[in-house]
């Protein structure tokens, strides 16, 4: 039943006036999955989504949705719905009119329209707000109207362009769960653009990490976290980011390579038992644990996590230890070397 090639991009490229937009984008997205396009701003994730939606046309490559070549199809012929970052609600129309706008355009009979509207409002918890205008709703409610509009269309593919970025942090957390639940309950395929790795890692089955118009790594959140393809992925994913050491810093790794290690894999050990000697440069109390930043001449971003409240004085000399199994080794070009 599930189609493992529901959405396919083949060598898609889009350039703006000869400048790089996205290049060599190849992806296969199975039906019913939740895929996040993640990356810093300007990495091409939104462009990729807009290419999928048909709001832009690719310069090269091929796009297939549900086995149909839609590379040059109009947006409306691709059988998808979209949630915009700004929500793109029609400001002069009520919640009801906003939600059923598309159904009206497609001349869905009135009884069916009412039924779908009721269901969509029920799912999104908007019953009772039918006659409000977007201007009379809070940010979270507007966001739910945008979701309801996507749900009511009944399409199997839903594209979301940073739908949570206009919400405050607390609301973002709860809506994140709502969206994930919605996707599971309805069994739809969601492609979700975000620059927030927490969103991507917590919601997605597959994360596509992009940089400068190129895909850096495609994999499960676990893959990206524990088997980063290259130094960019290693540094982008996870908070605090992975520390990078020159391979000459600890003994036995040769030259010209980079070693990555995460804070939770480093232990502070008594003098004389450690593999490296560092200086404490800051202590940051996070609540459940304390993050201790370390200075070392051949390392960047080195830090260690200690449980509870355990700040250390700045300038303290300490020794650290780590296990070889927890190291990520990258070659001179920044690519991951086989374990």
């Amino acid at each position: 039943m599930t189609n493992s090639q529901f959405v396919v991009l083949k060598d898609v490229a889009k350039r703006w006036n000869g400048q790089l937009g996205v290049e060599d984008i190849s992806l296969e997205i199975p039906e019913g999955s939740f895929t996040a396009l993640l990356g810093p701003s300007g990495c091409g994730k939104s462009t990729t989504l807009r290419l999928l939606a048909g709001l832009e046309l690719p310069d090269e490559g091929q796009i297939l949705i549900d086995g149909k070549d839609v590379t040059t199809s109009a947006a409306s012929d691709r059988n998808l719905s979209m949630v915009f970052q700004s929500y793109a609600l029609f400001p002069h129309l009520s919640v009801t009119e906003n939600v059923v706008f598309g159904l009206k355009v497609r001349r869905v009979p009135k009884a069916e329209r009412q039924e779908k509207l009721h269901r969509a409002l029920e799912i999104t918890g908007l019953l009772g707000y039918e006659n409000r205008k977007p201007g009379e709703l809070s940010g979270g409610q507007r966001q739910r109207v945008a979701l309801a509009r996507a749900i009511v269309a009944g399409q199997r593919l839903c594209l979301m362009d940073e739908p949570l970025s206009n919400l405050d942090a607390k609301l973002r957390n709860s809506v994140r769960k709502d969206i994930k639940k919605l996707q599971r309950d309805l069994g739809i395929t969601v492609i979700y653009v975000t620059h927030d790795q927490t969103e991507a890692m917590s919601m997605a089955d597959t994360v596509v990490l992009m940089k400068d118009g190129h895909i850096q790594q495609v994999g499960t959140p676990e893959d990206l976290y524990s088997r980063p393809n290259n130094i960019f992925v290693a540094e982008f994913v996870g908070a605090p980011p992975m520390a990078l050491l020159q391979s000459t810093a600890p003994d036995g790794f040769g030259e010209g390579k980079t070693i990555g290690i995460r804070a939770e894999n480093i232990q502070i050990v008594p003098k004389g038992e450690g593999r490296m000697c560092c200086t404490v440069n800051e202590s940051e109390f996070l609540g459940a644990e304390t993050l201790i930043g370390l200075d070392h001449a051949d390392a960047t971003g080195l830090c260690v996590l200690k449980p509870g409240m355990a700040t250390m004085a700045e300038g303290t000399e300490i020794e650290i230890n780590f296990h070889d199994d927890n190291l990520h080794i990258f070659d001179g070009a920044g690519q991951r070397l086989p374990d």
């Binding site: 048909g54 947006a75 355009v105 509009r149």
Partner: protein, 297 residues
């Protein structure tokens, strides 16, 4: 209340009055006082050497209502407003929608449309005088290429008012287009994209989304166009002087004629009062009725 709070309140009040006073002084001197003075003088008879001014009540108004020229001018002005307002709004909207879309030479198109507005009224009227002149005029020159007879567009009662109407539309449409263009820029691009994904046709999008969002602008333009329609006078001076046989005479020209050609100030004041009253009522209806059905962002 403590003394310093009281002082602060007084200070705020003085501050408020100071901010209000410049506008209040200007409006009183140049709008409120003249309006009341006009109303007042419309109730008195005309001053001549033999007959001094005396209070006549509504007699001046009764004279006007009995005057066929007055009714002809009113009819002319209604026709003039009834044609120029909707047509110039429609043309302005069409031009704005076009000039806002992704066409080449967009800047040129916008400038071209706006040029009539930039031209001084008198210069524009002279330009059109050249178009309309029988025999020499551009219209006749073009007509003669096809063997059509020479027409004195401004010189015959059947066409004179229409000639004026066309000049007004030409002049107003570009001006109103600028307002529409500005309003169109405020409609976010992603509304169009959201509509596209739903498969909305261009026409449906324009009718269901763009036009309602432009309603505040349309209302503003309609009120302005209405006021302009009783304010037109410069074109008439150049083009027809209200003639022939009052066929193209409009209200303001009639008032001017009454006051400064016939030196009959009381009657001129009476017409002015009528015009202000009618404009006030129409503007109130437009704002009170249409405002409720208009979405403001």
């Amino acid at each position: 209340m403590s003394a310093h709070a009281n002082l602060e309140r007084r200070r705020q009040a003085i501050y408020g009055w100071l901010l209000l006073s410049p506008a209040m002084v200007l409006l009183t001197v140049f709008a409120f006082y003249p309006s009341i003075a006009t109303l007042w003088s419309s109730l008195f008879s005309r001053h001549t050497r033999r007959n001094p001014t005396e209070f006549v009540g509504t007699e001046n108004y009764a004279d006007l209502f009995a005057d066929p020229t007055f009714w002809l001018v009113v009819k002319n002005n209604l026709l003039y407003a009834g044609i120029t307002i909707p047509v110039s709004i429609f043309i302005a909207l069409s031009m704005a929608l076009w000039a806002n879309s992704k066409i080449s030479a967009r800047g040129f198109v916008r400038t071209a449309y706006f040029t009539p507005t930039v031209l001084p009224m008198i210069a524009a009227a002279n330009l059109w005088l050249f178009f309309y002149t029988p025999g020499l005029g551009v219209l006749d020159q073009i007509g003669s290429l096809f063997g059509l007879p020479s027409v004195n567009w401004l010189g015959q009662p059947e066409t004179a008012l229409w000639a004026i109407i066309i000049v007004t539309i030409w002049k107003e449409a570009g001006f109103f287009m600028i307002f529409y263009l500005a309003a169109l820029q405020t409609i976010p691009e992603d509304l169009k994209e959201a509509a596209d994904i739903e498969g909305t046709s261009r026409w449906t999008y324009t009718r269901r989304i763009v036009l309602p969002l432009l309603m505040p602008t349309t209302l503003f333009i309609a009120v302005n166009a209405m006021i302009n329609s009783v304010k037109l006078i410069d074109h008439l001076f150049i083009l027809t002087k209200g003639g022939p046989s009052d066929a193209s005479k409009l209200i303001l020209y009639y008032i001017w004629e009454m006051a400064f050609a016939f030196f009959d100030a009381p009657h001129a004041a009476a017409i002015t009062v009528l015009v202000i009253a009618v404009l006030g009522v129409v503007a109130a209806v437009q704002f009170l009725y249409l405002d409720k059905r208009t979405h403001y962002q």
